[in-house]
Symmetry: C2
Subunit: 315 residues, 2 copies
């Protein structure tokens, strides 16, 4: 009686997991760190196996009741073969994880890029349901992209598409992690906002965000708190992030003529209304009027579940 | 014996036409102005009808031997229904031309956006043959785009996609026809180059291009002559055009991970080697390295025939 699907969202630091019943309802969840004591994230198998085992226990189901397992993970992933070709935040390269997981649990295993799956999730079950062409922008530590075109997840040549986080919007702009200047990510991701905030701090300005930044990132909830408190530097960083998100959205709208642009990811999950209001104030200027008429802009509806729902769609 | 296809490329000022035999060879051609004496381009039917009649005569075939007729035209075109929804350079709006042409010649008629068809032509018969994902950039008076994704022409919601000529690359850049600043078109089209050249002339600099510019455009061959003569202002205008073409190409490569980026249109037809060399010098900087590895950059192979070949592919 294979009637449950187990779906994972594997991040650089944590794993979300859910067990879906045959009515596509979540009957159990877990959230855990990617690296546990004595566990190395070098071995994606361990991470997945432990998470699946926990979920089986949590849901009180039997291994034989699993219909399929699927996961979203950061990086370039060969969805057809189940190979993680390259992952920026996890040390996996040309890693075929399909076979070991299938052998272990005796169920089919699927894997895809996390943001691609987040957009797929919103398309199948969330805010983009019923649309045919969807552009997704996920704001987190970096800036992720995902595309549904003509009703299908678009992955391009060798599964490397939708990297418009590295769209250059100002050749003289701030340096990005990728080595270029003025990418969307360098303005609008957590890293981009952190860069702006640090610069202001170095100029002697005070901000609640100073203590919130660790390395080049921060928790999205700290930003929410700073915005609510009227923290000037935080507001400026977000205004600048939204300005460039609006330009990038216009460029993508003119390129794709989608039915919808969806904003998601941790920053949006915590601060979505604040961001969307500012993006909408500007975005009309950057879209061709005739194309603007037929596109809407919205925040992801599934929140932290976008990716597990996308993973469910792979099954 | 319906064995010939008649294919047209309808521009704002001229029409190219070709008759293809069943082996897809061109057996007759015409080239004429869009507006002839006493003929108004308000009436696209007249333009198409006259062109088809001339081609029938030129090829020495009978009306009954026509298998199908097709055309590429500028603007937003509902390819499925044969309606020109909007055309920036031709005064046609929500114009259904399928039925009148089919009634007149008793053969199926198809129509699509000219640059879309140019890219489709290169994909089916030209430099992009065998690729699955193709990004086309056509440099003319404006800047046109066309996309083949997963082996199919991508037209987006309501046939309005691929307007990345209006991708903003510098929010403080020169004013574009579309009302925005710093679009690719404002730097790299004939209009963009003309703007730069005029600015230099107004600063007292000498250039062969001064006399070549009419309104805000020029003939691509005049540019070729100026480049060959080492005209400094012309060289600067082209260097600037290629710089922004390289940035835009990088942005598009990161977005689509295509197998090939194809440059076409009148400016490239006349000056392609000169442009491509300069684009290639810079473009690596703007592509994510892993994506750059699997994309090539090339000029259109079919020259002025790209669009008629694309129109043939619609049949």
């Amino acid at each position: 009686m294979a009637k449950y699907n187990i779906c994972l969202d594997i991040g650089g630091t944590k794993v979300f997991g859910a067990v879906f019943n045959s009515r596509k309802e979540i009957i159990a969840r877990i959230k855990r760190k990617t690296k546990e004591d004595g566990e190395s994230s070098d071995n994606v198998e361990d991470v997945i196996i432990r998470s699946v085992e926990e979920l089986i226990k949590e849901a009180g189901i039997k291994k034989s009741e699993i219909n399929a397992i699927s996961a979203g993970a950061p990086g370039v992933i060969d969805q057809d073969k189940g190979i993680v070709l390259f992952s920026p935040n996890l040390p996996w390269k040309n890693y075929n994880i399909k076979k070991p997981i299938e052998d272990k649990f005796g169920a089919p295993f699927h894997i895809g890029n996390d943001v691609n799956l987040g957009v797929l999730g919103e398309y199948k079950y969330g805010v983009a349901k019923g649309c045919k062409n969807v552009v997704g922008l996920f704001v987190g530590t970096g800036m992720g992209g995902g595309l549904i075109l003509d009703g299908k997840l678009y992955t391009g040549n060798q599964f490397k598409a939708a990297e418009y986080g590295h769209m250059i919007l100002d050749p003289e702009g701030p340096l990005c992690n990728c080595g270029q200047r003025g990418c969307l990510e360098a303005f609008s991701s957590k890293q981009g906002m952190s860069g702006y905030i640090k610069q202001q701090v170095s100029r002697g300005r005070k901000t609640m965000m100073e203590d919130a930044i660790t390395g080049s990132t921060f928790k999205a909830k700290a930003l929410k708190k700073a915005l609510a408190a009227g923290d000037e530097v935080a507001i400026e960083a977000v205004d600048r992030a939204c300005h460039y998100l609006a330009i990038a959205s216009g460029n993508l709208v003119n390129t794709f003529s989608p039915e919808i642009v969806v904003y998601g990811g941790g920053v949006i999950e915590a601060n979505g209304d604040y961001f969307l209001e500012r993006i909408l104030k500007e975005v009309d200027r950057y879209c061709m009027p005739s194309i603007r008429d037929t596109v809407k802009f919205a925040n992801a509806a599934l929140g932290d579940d976008s990716i597990v729902y996308g993973a469910l769609s792979l099954i």
